[in-house]
């Protein structure tokens, strides 16, 4: 499509396990947006599609640079976010590896197409760099938009920092294309706090690249002259009876959520599991995902310094939700403190729903509108939960 000659790169194609676990790495000091685009650079992406609505992150701009450098075959600038997400679904039918990223209002605008991806068996990686979605206007990193993704059927990973953003994004490309998964994987992290801030990221050489997408091995055949679109369209459920339409939809969606569950073994394989636990024998735990896990980690350290029985559970996978893993860790816990960057507390709702004694969940602390989540607020809840006298005036 492009009349401009782009550089041809000679890269070594490797398996994801080698790329993530064995390839030598070097430390870099980069922003979260850079970390995501560096992962895309090493993922052998065929096509990136975007129309970044403000507020966005720099991710799709940086991925544009990665395209210009020759690491991606094609970059399509779509009409707007619904167009972007629809184009991802269309491009997936050609049997190619796809990436897009969006933020806040853009995600909500594209949601109609995004929630259809799993049912259409679209293996794409979606970056979500969280931003406020509701009025009054703010461009800060509230992660309420993730709540709207929870029932989309997509696999969802939530990155704590720049390093997670890099590793999770790379792993997402392997997970989404597994024959027994083959649904989209969203990698979310907080805008500004992670995307615009620099942190240390260990990265392998950019001469290494994940092995290319193999459309022949895919469970859904790519459309080409042998498999024309009309052939698939002929069997569309809505053209059958209403009864067939219900039946096909129900078994189809059961299969989508089973696929979602089957992603768990790959989350173990590539990311060491859906949760990280510190001090598993503790009386109380701070349970957090994304950037709130960084604040929780700091609170956990303060608690250790004060000799308090406080553990940390970082939730890396939001979908599939690690019910079994969380239950196993918290079976003797007296309280679970769930700090979040949104007003509804979607993570605490998930945790309450998955344990038999949801009453031990402390609702909060929560900040919204993209405010900073002070570690002091978490410490306050820790003191309260342990019944320790304190004179914190917050």
């Amino acid at each position: 499509m492009s009349p401009n000659k782009r550089p041809v790169l000679n890269k070594k194609e490797v398996e994801m396990n080698y790329l993530l676990k064995e390839a030598p790495r070097e430390q870099h000091f980069i922003t979260g947006a850079q970390a995501m685009s560096e992962a895309v650079k090493r993922a052998n992406v065929d096509m990136a599609i975007a129309y970044p609505i403000t507020p966005q992150s720099e991710v799709m701009h940086l991925v544009g640079d990665v395209f210009a450098q020759g690491h991606i075959k094609e970059y399509y600038r779509a009409e707007e976010e619904l167009g972007t997400m629809s184009a991802i679904a269309g491009a997936a039918r050609a049997g190619i590896r796809l990436f897009t990223a969006t933020s806040g209002p853009g995600l909500i605008r594209g949601l109609e197409a995004i929630v259809s991806w799993p049912g259409h068996r679209v293996p794409a990686v979606l970056g979500i760099l969280t931003r406020v979605i509701n009025a009054p206007l703010s461009i800060q990193p509230d992660n309420l938009e993730m709540a709207y993704m929870l029932y989309s059927g997509a696999v969802m990973l939530h990155a704590e920092n720049q390093q997670d953003t890099f590793d999770f994004t790379l792993a997402a490309f392997a997970i989404t294309e597994k024959v027994d998964v083959y649904i989209p994987v969203a990698v979310a992290t907080e805008g500004f706090f992670v995307t615009h801030a620099k942190g240390y990221v260990d990265m392998m050489s950019e001469d290494l690249v994940y092995k290319p997408f193999d459309p022949v091995a895919a469970p859904v055949p790519a459309m080409d002259n042998e498999t024309p679109p009309a052939r698939i369209q002929r069997d569309a459920p809505v053209q059958k009876s209403n009864f067939m339409s219900y039946l096909i939809h129900s078994v189809w969606q059961q299969e989508i959520w089973d696929s979602n569950s089957r992603a768990m073994k790959y989350i173990y394989e590539y990311l060491g599991g859906p949760i990280e636990v510190q001090n598993p024998e503790s009386d109380i735990f701070v349970v957090a995902s994304g950037c709130a896990a960084a604040q929780a980690r700091e609170a956990h350290r303060y608690a250790q310094e004060e000799g308090l029985s406080v553990g940390l559970i970082k939730v890396k996978a939001i979908r599939p939700f690690p019910k079994k893993e969380i239950n196993e860790v918290v079976k003797n816990a007296k309280a679970l403190i769930v700090p979040e960057h949104n007003i509804v507390g979607w993570l605490s709702t998930e945790i309450k729903a998955c344990i038999p004694n949801g009453g031990i969940v402390v609702d909060g602390p929560r900040v919204y509108g993209g405010m900073t989540l002070p570690v002091e607020l978490i410490m306050y809840e820790i003191y309260e939960a342990l019944g320790i006298e304190h004179n914190m005036k917050l």
Binding site: A197, A294, Q295, E298, M371, T372
Partner: protein
């Protein structure tokens, strides 16, 4: 004070006073000393005399948390109007202050109200007051070195780093080429560069200011019960 593991600082000042620059140099100083730092600048429209805040975390351990410092144990006030005119994103300026905190104010006269003094006394805070702008004018010949005087006083009182670490960081900032400054800051950079024939002279003047504040910090005892410690420039 040096054995303390962690300092959370809030720096409040006005646009053009070098608040954000101080945060960057402080971060580099700590990095040079083998310690850890993270910094967050916060400003609205970028113009002179508009309120600016910057936040710096300094630690002997890696720092995980992100975002603004809501509960500081060190506050630096670069301009009396932050206190008297409320030119600040945080009102009053000591909001969220932790007990036993250190406050450094650049002023030639008392700016704290009776009520301020009551709150700060209850929190067992120590306020160090000195005319950093006058000191900068007297020693470096330019008020653009005010931030150096403020930073020098902070590091002199806390003993977080040595003057060698500071010199390296100031050198990187003004003589290195790795730093990308915003438009307004770049204009001030060139203004201060024109004042000195050579960049080395700029560095020397800045270091003279810092050395003087280290001397002043050495000569003062801030462990006493009095709320305000006034230093003569």
């Amino acid at each position: 004070m040096a054995e303390k593991k962690r300092y959370n600082m809030r720096i409040s000042g006005l646009g053009g006073q070098g608040v954000v620059t101080t945060a960057h140099i402080l971060g580099s100083c700590l990095d040079n000393a083998g310690k850890y730092a993270s910094l967050v600048p916060f400003f609205g429209s970028e113009k002179r005399m508009a309120p600016v805040e910057a936040y710096v975390r300094a630690s002997t351990h890696p720092i995980y948390e992100v975002g603004e410092v809501i509960y500081p144990d060190i506050i630096m006030i670069y301009h009396g109007q932050v206190v008297t005119h409320g030119k600040s994103y945080t009102m009053p300026f000591y909001t969220g202050l932790k007990p036993n905190a250190l406050i450094i104010i650049n002023t030639d006269k008392d700016v704290l109200s009776e009520e301020d003094c009551k709150v700060l006394s209850d929190l067992k805070a120590t306020v160090v007051q000195f005319d950093a702008t006058e000191l900068a004018l007297k020693i470096a010949g330019t008020e653009l070195a005010t931030n150096m005087a403020m930073m020098g006083m902070l590091l002199g009182l806390t003993e977080l780093v040595t003057t060698e670490h500071i010199e390296k960081a100031v050198r990187e900032r003004f003589l290195g080429n790795s730093f990308v400054a915003s438009g307004g800051t770049a204009a001030l950079d060139s203004a201060i560069e024109k004042k000195f024939k050579k960049k080395e002279q700029l560095l020397a003047a800045n270091m003279e200011v810092i050395n003087k504040t280290f001397e002043m910090a050495d000569s003062v005892d801030i462990t006493g019960d009095e709320l305000i410690v006034r230093l003569k420039v």
